[in-house]
């Protein structure tokens, strides 16, 4: 998992940072804003966004003391000065009247959503006392943390100092985990976040289920539009005619769950027609012959009945990919928990890219760079006495991060040791983990559930203590030094004050550490001191970052042709077409296709995805964003809808294979989806009473995802394995 020599390579130039040059434009633009803050007039404050994990750099404008608008920072390599609708609509997150306002301690049964408001001191005292009790009775390992996003950095720090190894996030086992594992098995490293996709320069972009444009990862969507504008070939594989599909030269409406068959058939064509990059494969590949031999049965004719894609289209698209190589990019995707073969499918995507020679090449998958900003010199964390609970006995040998659902399982079974406390930071586990009943069962086994969040999410509804965090526009967070096309360091700083008694995550984590007797882990007085110390380590300063928000480092080589050394962190040091690691662990060393379970008669496979104006289940009470989409709809094939006597706008309920019935939701009868599946945007159908604006609007896909298939390689939970029937509802 370590980027090895590349990191060393990057360090050569890391010392020479041309901050002055790169930051000059923003600095000039912001020169007028001097502190102290004037109440009247305009004030422009650079910061970075938190509505999703992309962390685009933004400039917020305050007019007469009130947040007016948020625009992209022109110096930002991620957004190029243009945010996505969620970033632009960030104002609504600040002004959301449904926000958590004060610390709460539960007064009734868990899940009844009844609390009393308490002071921060009382709340943190309560938490610390119980955490100490858990540590004393069960050991600190019995406390688990679920945290999502950069804001969780300090809570993670406190929990590590406390002594637990059980720190997980749904972003692995419920999201990008299978992809990262598939790529790591092949190349020795994953594609990262933001992904290392060179969409801007690609001549042929292949999207397998990736719905760019609906999935609003800013840089990718911008580069996608550029590619479309340049006339690059777009190939989209999706059971749904996505927005991206509407831009495609080739749209392949695949039977859900059969993507691996298509990938294998494509590779079969590339290999049998000798269209692959033979030099590249010879130079960088390992085990190609065995791999090539394994492809023999996977002809396009074989794939046709599986995928529904006719052999001519399979051949034509494979040839198109070969024609554009190496500037052909088969997008690795992100949320990749689909059918249960996900790590292997992702590995097939990695291998297809390898055949096309696109890894490390312009228009393919580049080698990202990052700034060298040293961490803060903290004391060493105590070494946990017991290993993490999430993956006992390395049951999932290739899991590279903690498995949330593994922690949940351990909490229920108390095996290998009991988990008695959960701290949940900014992740709505009720809407992100499959099978809500299991999550509730785990919660019932806890002595302590603490939720730190901005809004009263469903998981907050189950909490013993709810700690209201300041919104991202009201707080400092840790520096953003993600790996990307070009190196940068970015600052999040408060633009406006929190409207009520909310506190920033760093403050909460530091106070809690203090109450736990872990003051030694917080040697800094406040976060400004911490940030300045880190920035000084990179020859920068907080004052500088406060002015310009983002500082870009000098251009680093990102392609082989620019001088990036072609080294791979795999056991063989090569791109592994054949994986001995997998073979040794008892898995298929080359991807092998398993047909998916077909939908029961009259039922549809439940698929879900994103809408451009919403993030997860956290933006539905943002009035600006909910004004764009206040409820989701269930997409149903037009012919199927006619058969059921439904038209667009009619109300239905979905009933899944286990008898779970959804909230009522409107139908979108459309040609844009296959007849064997239905689709809905994730994040709706809220049940938390505090989310007044979103309560009961739309339906929750998560509620219907009672079944999941665990990826045997890495423990990811495949969720496109649920089937629903559509039941018409009378109005109102």
């Amino acid at each position: 998992m370590n980027p090895l020599s590349r990191r060393r390579f990057l360090q050569i130039s890391a010392a020479s940072i041309v901050a002055a040059g790169a930051a000059s434009r923003a600095t000039r633009a912001l020169a007028a804003s001097t502190s102290p803050v004037p109440r009247r007039g305009l004030r422009r404050v650079p910061t970075f966004c938190d509505i999703c994990f992309w962390k685009c750099n933004a400039i917020a404008t305050v007019r007469d003391g009130r947040l007016w608008k948020i625009e992209g920072n022109p110096d930002d390599p991620l957004s190029h000065g243009r945010l996505c609708p969620r970033g632009t609509g960030g104002i609504g997150a600040h002004t959301d009247p449904d926000r958590l306002r004060a610390p709460l301690i539960r007064t009734h049964e868990r899940g009844e959503e009844k609390w009393r408001e308490v002071t921060w001191d009382e709340a943190l005292e309560y938490v610390a006392e119980r955490m100490k009790k858990i540590a004393a009775e069960h050991g600190p390992e019995s406390m688990a943390l679920f945290a999502h996003g950069i804001g969780g950095a300090f809570v993670r720090h406190t929990l590590k100092a406390y002594g637990t190894p059980n720190i997980a996030a749904p972003s692995f086992a419920q999201c990008r985990g299978p992809r990262d594992v598939g790529f790591t098995l092949t190349y020795g490293e994953d594609v990262g976040s933001p992904e290392r996709t060179d969409i801007a320069n690609t001549d042929c972009l292949v999207l397998i289920g990736s719905h760019l444009g609906e999935n609003m990862h800013n840089t990718q969507v911008q580069e996608f539009a550029t590619a479309v504008g340049r006339g690059a070939t777009i190939i989209v594989v999706d059971p749904r005619f996505s927005v991206a599909a509407s831009k495609a030269k080739h749209y392949l409406p695949i039977r859900p769950g059969t993507d691996l068959a298509l990938l294998l058939a494509w590779m079969h064509v590339l290999v049998t027609e000798k269209l692959y990059d033979a030099d590249y494969v010879a130079k960088h590949g390992y085990g190609f012959e065995a791999f090539a031999a394994s492809l023999a049965p996977y002809t396009p004719e074989w794939a046709y009945p599986e995928t529904g894609i006719d052999p001519d289209t399979i051949r034509a698209t494979a040839r198109e990919m070969a024609r554009c190589r190496p500037a052909t990019l088969v997008h690795p995707g992100r949320h990749s928990n689909w059918a249960g073969d996900d790590a292997q499918r992702s590995r097939a995507i990695a291998l297809l890219n390898a055949l096309l020679g696109s890894w490390g090449r312009k228009g393919g998958l580049y080698y990202p760079a990052s700034m060298d900003v040293p961490g803060y010199p903290y004391p060493k964390y105590p070494k946990p006495k017991r290993p993490p609970v999430d993956n006992p006995g390395k049951k999932y040998p290739f899991a590279s991060e903690a498995i949330t659902t593994g922690v949940r399982e351990a909490t229920i079974s108390a095996q290998p040791y009991p988990i008695k406390g959960w701290m949940v930071y900014a992740t709505n586990l009720m809407q992100s983990l499959p099978n809500q009943a299991e999550t509730i069962r785990a919660i019932q086994a806890l002595d302590l559930l603490v939720v730190i969040d901005v809004i009263p999410s469903e998981i907050a509804g189950w909490a013993d203590v709810v700690l209201p965090e300041s919104n991202y526009l009201e707080r400092y967070d840790d520096l953003n030094v993600d790996l990307f096309r070009e190196p940068y360091v970015a600052l999040r700083q408060p633009v406006v004050e929190s409207p009520h008694d909310q506190k920033p995550g760093w403050w909460i984590a530091k106070q809690l550490a203090g109450k736990l007797g872990l003051e030694a882990y917080y040697p800094w007085r406040d976060i400004e001191e911490y940030l300045d110390h880190r920035l000084k380590g990179a020859n920068l300063s907080l004052a500088q970052l406060k002015q310009c928000g983002v500082v870009r480092g000098p251009h680093q080589p990102i392609y082989f042709e620019e001088g990036v050394p072609a080294e791979f962190g795999t056991p063989s040091g090569k791109i592994e077409f054949y994986s001995n690691q997998l073979a040794k662990a008892g898995f298929d060393p080359v991807p092998r296709y398993q047909p998916p379970e077909p939908p029961p008669a009259g039922a549809y496979r439940l698929l879900y995805g994103r809408a451009p104006m919403h993030s997860f289940s956290r933006t539905q009470t943002n009035r600006l964003l909910s004004d764009l989409m206040s409820e989701n709809v269930v997409w149903l094939n037009a012919t199927e809808a006619r058969r059921l006597g439904l038209k667009s706008g009619d109300w239905v309920r979905l009933r899944n294979q286990d008898g779970v019935v959804s909230n009522r939701v409107r139908v979108k009868a459309t040609e844009r989806i296959r007849p064997d599946c239905v689709y809905m945007v994730h994040g709706f159908g809220h049940t938390a009473r505090g989310l007044r604006h979103a309560l009961g609007k739309g339906a929750s896909d998560t509620q219907l995802i009672t079944r999941y298939k665990v990826d045997p390689l890495m423990g990811g939970t495949a969720m496109n394995v649920n089937f629903v029937t559509v039941e018409p509802q009378m109005e109102a």
């Binding site: 764009l628 989409m629 667009s648 979108k668 009868a669 459309t670 040609e671 844009r672």
Partner: protein, 350 residues
């Protein structure tokens, strides 16, 4: 090629999912405006015909100007209630916009009032003798006006001219809105004018039935009411010249209205697809049933038939046809305003 699926994410109040700008106020305003226009023309005509050689049999004309003033004011109130920015209504009278029917209308209305007041003054001694007795100045004014034939003539002409303008204006108000193909016909003005005339004649007809017999001086209110009820329920005296004339007039107006309605729809049906779709909203669409039943059936064909039979003395004359015509006129405004808002140029790629 028409879109297979069209989705808009706009959700503005009054606009989406379908235009619903105007509720009851505008149809009521258009209806009352048309009705008043009809009354003005009829009473103006009567003023000229009579040349102040007053025919007592035409006594029901006497209250028409006063009634018009009341109805027009009610209509204006409805219009005012519909305005969203009420405090700025005076802005109408700081300008004249030649391309805006609404601007024309507001100025026409400004002229309609004096014309109606003039004819009301002329008829005041007959319409409200007690008021004139109470305020002798009014009687003197009326006599002074009466004494000048040129003034009487001018009043008559003004009422006819302004009535025509007002009646047509109520239709042009809609027909000028090219965005709504159903309304987009020059025949809408004449149609509303003749509908106004038919309802005006029906109102006069009804008025003559309803006219409370001159109260016996200091009579008790209850007595007056009872005698009025008896009076209303009694069929009109057969052969009353005024009634027959009105029936004839009403039948002609209804016939013309019917023809205009047919031409209006025919015109739409032979026009663009959007206009055809607009007409279909009335003929077969969601407004089909109320249109055929209330406007065509109960509002035109049935009263026409009844009045024809009445004129032929085949059946007893009643107030039923007049009530039907008045109801039909109202239904016409409601249905046209409603259906028109559903009529649109469909968004296409062409």
């Amino acid at each position: 090629m028409t879109p297979v699926e069209f989705t808009t994410y706009r959700h503005n109040p009054l606009i989406d999912p379908g235009l619903h700008l105007w509720g009851w106020q505008i149809p009521v305003y258009l209806y009352l405006g048309g009705l008043v226009a009809g009354l003005m023309i009829l009473s103006g005509y009567h003023v000229l015909r009579a040349q102040w050689d007053r025919d007592r049999a035409h006594g029901h004309y006497v209250t028409a100007p006063l009634l018009s003033l009341a109805l027009l004011s009610a209509g204006m109130l409805a219009l005012f209630l519909d305005l969203e920015h009420k405090l700025y209504v005076w802005r109408l009278y700081l300008t004249f916009r030649v391309t805006s029917p609404m601007s024309w209308g507001s100025w026409i209305l400004l002229l309609v009032y004096p014309a109606l007041v003039a004819s009301a003054l002329l008829t005041l001694p007959d319409a409200l003798p007690r008021l004139v007795r109470l305020v002798p100045g009014l009687g003197r004014l009326a006599s002074a006006m009466e004494a000048r034939p040129i003034f009487v003539q001018a009043t008559g002409f003004a009422n006819i001219a302004l009535g025509v303008m007002l009646g047509i204006y109520t239709g042009v108000l809609l027909s000028s809105l090219g965005a709504r193909p159903l309304w987009n016909s020059a025949l809408l003005g004449p149609l509303f004018l003749f509908s106004g005339l038919s309802t005006g004649a029906a109102a006069l007809h009804l008025l003559s039935h309803l006219r409370v017999p001159e109260a016996r001086d200091e009579g008790d209110f209850g007595d007056a009411l009872i005698s009025a009820l008896v009076h209303w329920l009694r069929p009109p005296e057969a052969g009353a010249e005024g009634h027959r004339k009105l029936e004839h007039a009403d039948n002609s107006f209804l016939t013309i209205e019917f023809a205009l309605l047919a031409l209006f729809l025919g015109g739409l049906l032979t026009s663009t697809a959007a206009h055809q779709a607009g007409a279909q909203l009335l003929l077969t669409g969601p407004w089909g049933a109320p249109f055929w039943v209330l406007v065509v059936g109960a509002g035109i064909v049935l009263p026409l038939t009844l009045q024809y039979l009445q004129a032929q003395r085949k059946i007893r004359a009643t107030i039923v046809p007049a009530v039907l015509v008045l109801g039909g006129g109202l239904a016409l405004r409601f249905i046209l305003v409603g259906a028109g808002q559903a009529s649109a140029w469909t968004i296409s790629l062409s």
